[in-house]
């Protein structure tokens, strides 16, 4: 690996400073905290939520998260009747600007194969029970659209600030494999 990098640097094909910047960006600047801020804003500001569901790239840009050049983001909302789950069965498509790089399990054969054929089994494996009266919608990211789940705001969080709410929102909830829980509540 080191040999490849030094070869490419010597040949002028990559710039080591640019590589450092990319690594730093994805280790420290881009990640699920971005998505959590979007979710918390949508929970406290109904007008923002409406814009987010109608035109996610524009609503994300309002918070400073730009989704590349024309890569399109869609937000799908969980409620008492619908539970959404995101997967990429063909590779590893994932909403980088708001969630960062995907975890290993998301890219694994186990998740990719089973999320579409047995979503309720997959959810159970994550400790998420979804009632038979709830529709499970699986989003297979087969094109250049990227999906993020807007989880349900947990009960008992009415008095929390936007920042406190954002701190509750997990990566897994925005992929749709788990729910957001209130402080002290069991997952």
């Amino acid at each position: 690996m080191k040999a490849l990098e030094s070869l490419l640097v010597e040949k002028g094909l990559v710039d080591p400073a640019a590589l450092d910047l990319l690594v730093d960006t994805f280790e420290h600047r881009v990640g699920p905290r971005n998505g959590a801020r979007v979710v918390a804003r949508a929970w406290v500001d109904p007008a923002y939520k409406e814009r987010l569901l109608a035109d996610a790239p524009a609503a994300l840009a309002e918070l400073g998260f730009t989704s590349g050049q024309g890569e399109h983001m869609l937000v799908v909302e969980n409620d008492s009747k619908v539970h959404n789950l995101v997967v990429c069965t063909l590779c590893s498509c994932y909403p980088w600007p708001v969630l960062g790089l995907p975890p290993v399990w998301y890219k694994s054969a186990a998740y990719r194969s089973r999320a579409v054929i047995d979503p309720r089994g997959v959810l159970r494996e994550f400790g998420t029970e979804v009632g038979e009266d709830v529709e499970v919608r699986v989003w297979d990211s087969t094109a250049e659209l990227r999906y993020i789940v807007l989880p349900e705001r947990p009960a008992g969080t009415e008095n929390l600030s936007e920042d406190e709410l954002a701190a509750l929102v997990t990566r897994d909830a925005m992929v749709g494999v788990s729910r957001v829980t209130a402080p002290g509540e069991k997952a």
């Binding site: 040949k11 002028g12 710039d15 280790e27 399109h72 997967v87 069965t89 399990w105």
Partner: protein
């Protein structure tokens, strides 16, 4: 191609291995190949679809055996050689051929952009409308496709028109962009998987115009 990468609906792949507090990169070299990959992609010698196809044509045993970033390392080396940026000998020795250093200026990359063109193009007509019943074509191309096996021949409903996108099946092979509409198509879980699936559940796939026919 009906390859190992097309995993939707396969069984017996084991439990999902979940890592708590997982780091972005598990070792420094993963970050380096991630960044090298982005930098090389930005040179636009190969497009995203060709890049994906290169992963898909890894031997199935290698695809399963290699970790995610090991695959990236492997296919970047293959693409570098295939497109004449590096020779196999240079890769083997780690030393640039005489006179080949600093042949081109490295591009400084800072953004997250993946270079996908805009989806707004009023000159490309949509063959299908929201609410229409459609069927995914039963086709088995040997090249790159984003139509998974599990949806082929199945009927669904157009839920949304996403606009116009480059067609990966041709673009991956440098046979033109053939820009066309992409739709969100809803398939009931029972249409895809039969009686074992919950009657309420559904799977949404994003499908290019050419993947669909009237149901």
């Amino acid at each position: 191609m009906n390859g190992i990468h097309d995993m939707g609906g396969m069984q017996d792949m084991g439990p999902i291995q979940y890592e708590k507090a997982e780091p972005v990169f598990h070792a420094a070299w993963e970050g380096r190949i991630f960044a090298i990959n982005s930098s090389l992609r930005a040179r636009r010698k190969w497009n995203l679809d060709a890049w994906r196809y290169q992963i898909e044509i890894l031997a199935p045993v290698d695809y399963l055996r290699l970790t995610y970033y090991e695959r990236w390392l492997e296919i970047n080396e293959q693409l570098l050689v295939k497109h004449g940026l590096v020779t196999a000998e240079e890769l083997a020795t780690g030393t640039p051929a005489a006179g080949s250093t600093k042949a081109v200026q490295a591009t400084r990359i800072s953004g997250v952009g993946r270079g996908i063109p805009s989806s707004h193009d009023p000159t490309v007509p949509a063959r299908f409308a929201v609410g229409q019943r459609v069927r995914a074509r039963n086709s088995n191309p040997i090249g790159h496709t984003r139509l998974p096996r599990y949806a082929r021949g199945r009927a669904g409903t157009i839920e949304r028109d996403h606009g116009v996108y480059t067609f990966p099946d041709t673009n991956a092979h440098y046979e033109g962009e053939h820009r066309q509409h992409v739709y969100s198509v809803r398939f009931s879980a029972r249409e895809l998987w039969g009686e074992q699936a919950s009657p309420r559940d559904s799977v949404y796939l994003d499908m290019w115009d050419e993947y669909l026919e009237r149901a």
